[in-house]
Amino acid sequence: MNNKILEVRSISVRFKTKTKFKIILKEVERYKIAVDNVSFDVMEGDTFGLVGETGSGKSTIARTLVGIYKPFTGEIYFMGKKIDFKRKNDLLYLRKNIGIVFQDPVGSLNPKLKVREIIREGFSIEEKYSKSEQDKLIVDITRKVGLGESKLDSYPSELSGGEKQRVSLARALVTQKKILILDEPTSSLDVSIQAQILNLLRKLKSDFNLTYIFITHDLNVIRYMCNRMGVLYYGQLLETGNVKEIYESPLHPYTADLMNANLTLDSSLDFTSQYDIGEPSRKGCIYKNSCKKRFELCENPPNDVELGERKVKCWLYKNIIETQRM
């Protein structure tokens, strides 16, 4: 039942930052690596959470998965099929099956189109529907996302933040999708509206049989929405596993620091824990400069250590593996 729907195999994404011409017109290119050797699997029916701070590459991963960016190494398998990012058909195949909702509902909706036409944009990759079928589906989906039919003829500027996000959802789901990527879908919303959208997302998931990839920096939201998650830090995936296990016993020191810093209604600010915020390290383990548990081995880049269903990129767990082997 639990099939792998999406496999991400050590993908890296980089952006060109500088092109300099040296003396003999020799081009020197520089790159910024936004996603560095990231692998994870998403099972069918999962809500897979990706958590990370600013600049950790979570949005880059989301955009790579729908083919907006192209990885320079690594592979992506969708339903067992390898995606070749150079082939147009493969990209179309991705887009037909993977929808995406962006954080900024203002920036992702065309201000000059009415809501009806915005939702119709969702059909641009599916040619099999006639106009009247499209209209019927549009009305259908607006009702399912909890938007009044009367809103179909308004412009995005007339809608509230929550309503705009519902329009984005409707556009993504108007054609049948397998995976929906949610890139910080509630970050710009008020708390009570966020709660409404989270409830809606849960309902849509079972209605449409969806798999979610949920990207956010809010640990309370991840815990509430996801069953599996990955922790990103400056482009590297430091830990993946079951949400409950990660929250109850984080393995990577960075995950532990994050969990410790998370505020809940019952938490109390303690004055004992000290955070040492350092720059991400270029050599060795990327979290070396901020880590409280660093030791000699951290000068070398760590490999992924698999502990059952969990994966962690840290030297602390090297010995555990070795004792298991013996």
Partner: protein
Amino acid sequence: MLISMTNEIERSKNENLLEVRNLSIYFETIDKKIKILREIDLYVKRGEVVGIVGESGSGKSTLAQAIVGVLDSPPAFVENGEIIFEGERVFPTNKKFNYRGKGINMVFQEPIVSLNPVYTVRRQIEEAMDIAGIEKDKKNRDEIIKNVLKELMIRDVEKVLESYPHQLSGGMRQRVAIAISVIQRPKLIILDEPTTGLDLIVQRQIMKLLLNLKNEINTSMILITHDLTVAANMCDRIYIMYTGRIVESGPRTNIIKDPLHPYTWMLLNSVPRGYSDSGPLKVTEGSPPDISNLPPGCTFHPRCPRVMEKCRKEVPKIRKMEGEREVACWIYE
């Protein structure tokens, strides 16, 4: 003589540092008046951290701007009420900015907006010190600046001092903005969403720093936020605002553990708790009403789970409850 002096000290201890009395403010547009704040009553004691929690459009930022005295008029006009700071009326007043600097400071949500892009950090901090008249001697001054920045856990002090705001990260900028505020040793700091948009660990750190500073220089703080979890962790007392009105106020533990107003219930229920197997969040559909077109009676009644006939017609008055608590709701009549 002595007795009168001790009396004086005693009195200033008991006296509230800041009092907002029955403040109503409206904005005037071409064709109508829009009431932004309605009958706000609020006080801040010395050394106290007070939270103002509300969603967007609740008027919390307008209230902050009125307290600091940066509210532009027009469009804003005072209909009623006043703000008293240390026994002196500061709003509305003709005198401008007389209490800024040493008295009340504000840290804005967007540090990039409050910092000057063409001056180095050092120059901006020194400017703040000039205004407050702190330490003219150059050597001592350097010492003070470095100490404050070190307390804010800025490591590379020299480098940060010579940087321009755009060269710093968001967390660093916010820390610089806080440094500029605290170096003047104000009696009251107003923090408008000081940690929104910052990374978790940096956010936690800044909150800790602020509380440390509070204990050190006995500053009072007003924390404006939409995030109840932040308020629950930092504040002594919390005010809940909805559509320009204070609907509930009280000590932190009471608000979080035993909220009175249905809106506070909803805010608390909106915070996701538990794992993915827990039930749906208990919120009602609908969103805050348009402030220029408020429903009659209690403005929360269209979303309220306990709505009664009376709520649709009459506006509930704020009502004193046990233990420094207040609530504006007909349930408690």
